[in-house]
Amino acid sequence: MLVPIIVLIAAQASADPAVLWQEAKGYLDHQQYAEARRVLTLAVKASPNDPAFWFHLGVSCAELKDVDAAISAFEKARVLAPKRAEVYFSLGLEYWHRADIGKAKESYRTGLTLDPKNTQALQNYALLLMKSGEPGEAIDLLLKLKAVPELTLPARVSLIECYLKTADREHADQETDDLLRSGVAGPEEETKLGALLLEAGDDRAAERVLRASLSQRPDQAKACAALGVLLLNKRNYAEASDFLGRVVHLAPDSAEYAMAFAEALLLWNRQDEALGFLKEVEPKFGHLPEFQYKLALAYFAETKFSEVIDTLNKLLQTNPRRQDQIYYMLGHSYVATGKLGDAEKAYRRAIEMNPKIPAYYEEFATVLRREGPEHLDEAIVELKRGVQFDPTNPRLALQLALCYESKGDINSALRLAEEAAGKEPDVLPAHVALARIYFRLGKKVEGQKEKETIAELEKKQQQSLVPNASQLPTIDGRLP
């Protein structure tokens, strides 16, 4: 504490600019910016036309996060020394801090005309352009920076980002390949780049980068998770499960990762493993609605419908999101267990909560129709409501046709069955209904034609199910 007091006393005693500068420089060297600012304030009073005093006053203010004072000082410096590039660069940075992007860009642009090789300024200006939505303008700057050894890595990453933002996928891919080949990027940079690529929607490049990153350092949870989710979206469920499985070991307390892993297993049809995993993490995450939903899905995939019903009913007590989907799955589960009355209620709730999903009406009407002829009128009303949301839906048309057929309104059934069979020519039930209706109307030629179509479809289905001899296993217990 002794030295600053002495210096302070000395400064107060002197108004000599040279003395003041020495004093300020000492403070600046020791990063004592408040003291430097105080001394430099005296200095600019003593020598108001010295741009160096104003410049260093601006630097001190900038270090002290007093952006307005810094800008004011730099502006004075700029007026007094309009050919000094560093003034413009400092000014640009402060304007950027003040979110005055226009003035910031202008300052950098002017500064770079004076000192076009200033790599730091080039880098900042490029970033500024990228932030301000002008990635195309930044590309030239970044290409220059790429040649600077110490800046090549961030420049390359930024360059890839700019290419991605300008939708120049070819250059982005090329640059990514170059970067991976060069070996200059460490796993962290690659992971960052992977995130950038993911954000930009370049999944292919992101996958390459993340794989490269993980090959260098396999224990990066975020990279593993990002790659796992990416592969999940690509429906590569086996690998997605592998990476997400690693993640849950690296970050065992992350509910997000755990749920992603469970989802991957379910989509991979590893329902028994999914169930096992969910049971394992139930003490940690069992309270989460997402967990309960995944658990229900696992039970559903295992056709353990009683457990699905219990789980979903428990989940519904927590007032979760997308209850319509939950009721829809509940409806299916009740159908599978033969409880049509309960299924009817569940589908009804699904429709109440989200009346715009045609599938809900289709299933609801199917249940009503199967409950008996007294429910046909309601089934028709509901299907017509569904049709309002999707007037060309062939499945709704088929259900309506079946309802009308059951009611004996064969003409209405005919039109709808024709519509359903026309729109989904490979769907057997539509042709069966249509053939049946033709025959009931005495239209034997048309009926016969449909019968032939059905025979063809059934033949195709059968052929797809029966393996040829080379696919057969030997009788030693091996599975096909």
Partner: protein, 564 residues
């Protein structure tokens, strides 16, 4: 006040337990002497034939007037080599509630993985003969009339099928001889072992092979269909395969139950055949020369949803009393049993929803079944045997179990079905892996009894306790020029001014064969007259007036009638 008293009285009456015996009583093996047990050859590989069980026949092999029982067993095959030789079982009815195993002395010793049994006097000598179908083999036994049988398969010209199922003896060309339909299931290969993906459950193959190296029973859908066979009886013990010329061969299927009936009343017997994972076939007999398959046209091929199902047992009877034969077909769980009402003009309507049958059968997998008027009330009621084919089904908790109860459904005037299983006896409160089922009057009391088989288990004999005390008339038909089973005969009778009729069908149920006699239940009424219109080539109608009730009557073609 009176109304209140009446209500109280009703309430008191409702609380009074009427101590009546159950409708049926199961006769335990130690009482009946039927100790034989079916062996389904269960293996770790889970070969599909292990799931289907086998049939049972009720017939009078020795013409002593008492119905005997034949039970079909598995046997040696390309996929099963039993440790000890297996045998079918022929049980002679001793007439006192007991049965004696006469299999060996009768010579029913064929070693095959047996499936179905069909009884018919193919040579018209008055002694019922036996056809046993199986996998890769079948056997035709000629009844020698002295308690023994001779294997005449080779001489008959009847060829084995890859997988023979239900068979029906009937006279398709009305020449007075019993022809033979043999259902054929799929092009099965034991080389095909299935993981979850191709099983009844379905799933993902990749998952299964890696995660759970367990074999499941293959779904029938993965096997190619094969055509069934129709043999024309040439006389002299010879049969000619007419599958090609009659059109039967043109439509390969996966046949299980088969019943011969006359759906359009043209005097030619048609065939309704249940197919597994395929549309059912309704073969309409066009003049005894061709069969036209009209399952789709008639509305009996697919479910109301337009889907194929797992058709198993079938039967035909005039369910609603309109004079036309209606059809029933059992399916696997969730598919419901269909009851097709005959609308005339070769069209049918599934009334399983209207009658309540769909709700009663929704979660059961049906096999053997049959119409029987269990209380002789005058309406054909229903007996249904159930059990899921997949022994691993309970791993999937759908509320479906491997073993399931049998159901007795009462026909309420042809409009509704009432589940009376609860009052039908203890046997209806147990679960079984039931398959074949035959109906017959084992004690000649005029009330239909039931025998059903279990896959890999003992047969069950359910004796009808004749609780209703309703009247009945039993009829045994003895044709001369018509076919020996009188299949296609129309029995008419009058009560008051109302005339009823019944067509004598053939086959039905699942792999099984019923008592050939007909029982007419009349409730509390007496029959004014009864007549038999014999099937072609006969043109005779024989009638008897004021028959004595509650007894069997033998009606011979040409007028002779005698009480048994």
């Amino acid at each position: 006040m009176m109304r209140l008293l009446g209500t109280v009285l009703l309430w008191l009456l409702a609380g009074t337990k009427v101590d009546s015996p159950p409708l049926f009583r199961e006769v335990p093996p130690h009482e009946s002497g039927i100790s034989w047990v079916h062996d389904n050859g269960h293996s770790e590989q889970r070969y599909l034939p292990e799931t289907t069980g086998a049939g049972v026949a009720i017939f009078d092999y020795n013409n002593d007037g008492k119905m005997d029982i034949l039970l079909v067993n598995s046997g040696r095959s390309s996929f099963y080599n039993p440790r000890a030789p297996l045998h079918h079982a022929l049980y002679r009815n001793n007439g006192d509630g007991t049965f004696t195993d006469v299999t060996q002395q009768a010579g029913i010793t064929a070693d095959l993985f047996g499936q179905g049994v069909a009884i018919g006097d193919y040579d018209g000598d008055g002694w019922p003969d036996i056809l046993i179908t199986g996998i890769g083999k079948l056997v035709l036994y000629h009844n020698n009339g002295n308690g023994t049988f001779t294997d005449v398969t080779a001489a008959s010209g009847i060829q084995p099928l890859k997988w023979g199922t239900s068979a029906v003896w009937f006279d398709y060309d009305n020449d007075g001889k019993l022809d033979l339909f043999i259902g054929q299931f799929a092009d099965y290969s034991e080389q095909r072992l299935c993981g979850l993906a191709d099983s009844y459950a379905g799933g993902d193959a990749a998952n299964e092979t890696a995660a759970k190296p367990q074999t499941y029973y293959c779904s029938p859908k993965i096997f190619e269909p094969l055509p069934s066979r129709l043999y024309r009886n040439l006389g002299n013990g010879k049969f000619q395969d007419v599958s090609q010329t009659t059109g039967i061969q043109a439509r390969p299927g996966k046949a299980w139950g088969a019943v011969a009936t006359d759906i359009n009343g043209d005097g030619y017997m048609d065939l309704f055949v249940a197919n597994d994972t395929m549309a059912n076939y309704l073969w309409v007999n066009r003049g005894g020369e061709k069969f036209e398959e009209i399952g789709l046209e008639a509305g009996v091929g697919y479910s109301a949803d337009g889907m194929t199902r797992a058709g198993m047992g079938v039967a035909a009877a005039d369910f609603d009393g309109d004079g036309r034969p209606d059809l029933i077909v059992a399916n696997i769980d969730a598919q419901t049993t269909s009851l097709y009402r005959n609308l005339g003009n070769e069209m049918f309507e599934d009334i399983n929803l209207k009658t309540g049958l769909a709700a009663l059968t929704r979660m059961f997998s049906g096999w053997g079944l049959g119409f029987l008027d269990y209380d002789n009330g005058g309406w054909p009621d229903l007996i249904l045997s159930n059990g899921h084919p997949d022994d691993l089904v309970e791993q999937r908790s759908r509320g479906v179990t491997y073993r399931e109860p049998i159901l007795l459904l009462r026909n309420l005037c042809g409009a509704k079905l009432e589940n009376v299983s609860d009052s039908a006896g203890e046997a209806f409160h147990k679960d079984y892996s039931a398959r074949g089922l035959a109906i017959g009057d084992l004690n000649n009391d005029g009330y239909a009894d039931i025998v059903f088989t279990e896959n890999g288990g003992p047969p069950h004999v359910l004796m009808n306790n004749a609780v209703s005390k309703n009247h009945w008339l039993g009829i045994q038909l003895k044709p001369k020029t018509a076919n020996p089973a009188a299949v296609g005969a129309v029995i008419r009778w009058s009560i008051g001014s109302k005339v009823f009729s019944r067509l004598k069908n053939a086959g039905g149920s699942f792999l099984s064969s019923n008592d050939p006699r007909e029982i007419i239940g009349t409730g509390k009424a007496q029959i004014d007259w009864v007549e038999v219109q014999w099937p072609r080539p006969s043109h005779r109608v024989d009638r008897i007036t004021a028959p004595r009730m509650d007894r069997y009557l033998t009606v011979s073609e040409g007028g002779g009638m005698r009480p048994d």
